[in-house]
Subunit: 185 residues, 2 copies
């Protein structure tokens, strides 16, 4: 996922690394057309779909972490809102329609230049099936969650928050940060 | 701010527009090295700094909207968290240190491919002064807000939410979406 900028995407000239006028950081700058090629964090957006006392997980059919379990989530596209991204990813990966209930977990992951955003959601009609990027989709009670086979630390965090909040009877938005080892820095 | 991808940033070859294998949308794809050049939304992050009964605004020294008033905010960088981005932008634009109090407004702006994230914050020590991107920095009471000279619709939304919530005595995170006319779609 590392963005490798060697050539100007506007004119094709090899870029240089320098601090642009009025900036404070080194950027990839085109010496021919002066375009500055910024690298900014990407949003990964998804949902935690709940049906009765269970949550919906997808077993990944694609790398990274093929075969591991995840919440339906993926990169936000340029023509949609956060909520639309969560609904689209849930439909694509789990063929499931959801009713969003609010932001649940936001995870900063600076070392891979991502921000993960998970919505709590109700699973409409209890209906789901594997999308093209999933090997399997399944509802899990808290006791059944395969903690050792969860694809990403941000997904584990979201699930832990959900079950903890459910016991307390109040769902709160939490912001977290994870380092390369999957721990708070 | 429109991203113009004509050449592969990895190998410099002119890109083609096609739907990559396993994808559903047209992307800019390199015919030489097969790199897919995704365009994803960018995060603009800032704060609403409060001191006593007033909020801190900055008058922009740069385009777009030079001379108009804004909350301190800017593009999130690749090596930071949302909270760090809000603190950095507030320091850069208003030379002000803040204590974050929570997410306040999230605004989806699909037509310019941005998501704006504003934190409610306390202004530490009541200290501030114009940074290099600001002509002026000033505290405003609700009655003093220059509503006709606010730089961006997302800033107006955040300010309106703040004063409304303050009257009710409870601060809530709100998610909004704005179209090209600055209205909800």
């Amino acid at each position: 996922m590392c963005e490798e900028i060697r050539f100007c995407s506007r004119c094709g000239t090899p870029v240089e690394t320098r601090i642009p006028d009025g900036d404070t950081r080194p950027r990839q700058v085109c010496p021919a057309c002066d375009s500055v090629h910024y690298v900014n964090p990407k949003l990964v957006v998804g949902s935690l779909p709940v049906w009765q006392d269970k949550v919906l997980l997808c077993r990944r059919a694609i790398e990274p972490r093929r075969g591991y379990w995840t919440l339906p989530a993926g990169f936000m596209e340029s023509d949609e809102t956060l909520a639309q991204a969560a609904e689209r990813e849930t439909l694509e990966e789990a063929c499931a329609r959801i009713e969003l209930q609010g932001l649940q977990t936001i995870v900063n992951i600076p070392h891979i230049n991502q921000v993960h955003v998970i919505y709590l959601a109700g699973l409409i009609g209890g209906q789901f099936s594997p999308g093209i990027e999933s090997l399997e989709t399944r509802l899990f009670s808290e006791e059944e969650i395969p903690w050792g086979e969860i694809a990403f630390h941000s997904v584990s965090l979201s699930l832990k928050h959900y079950f903890s909040d459910r016991r307390k009877g109040a769902f709160l938005l939490r912001e977290e940060t994870l380092d390369a080892a999957g721990n708070p820095p």
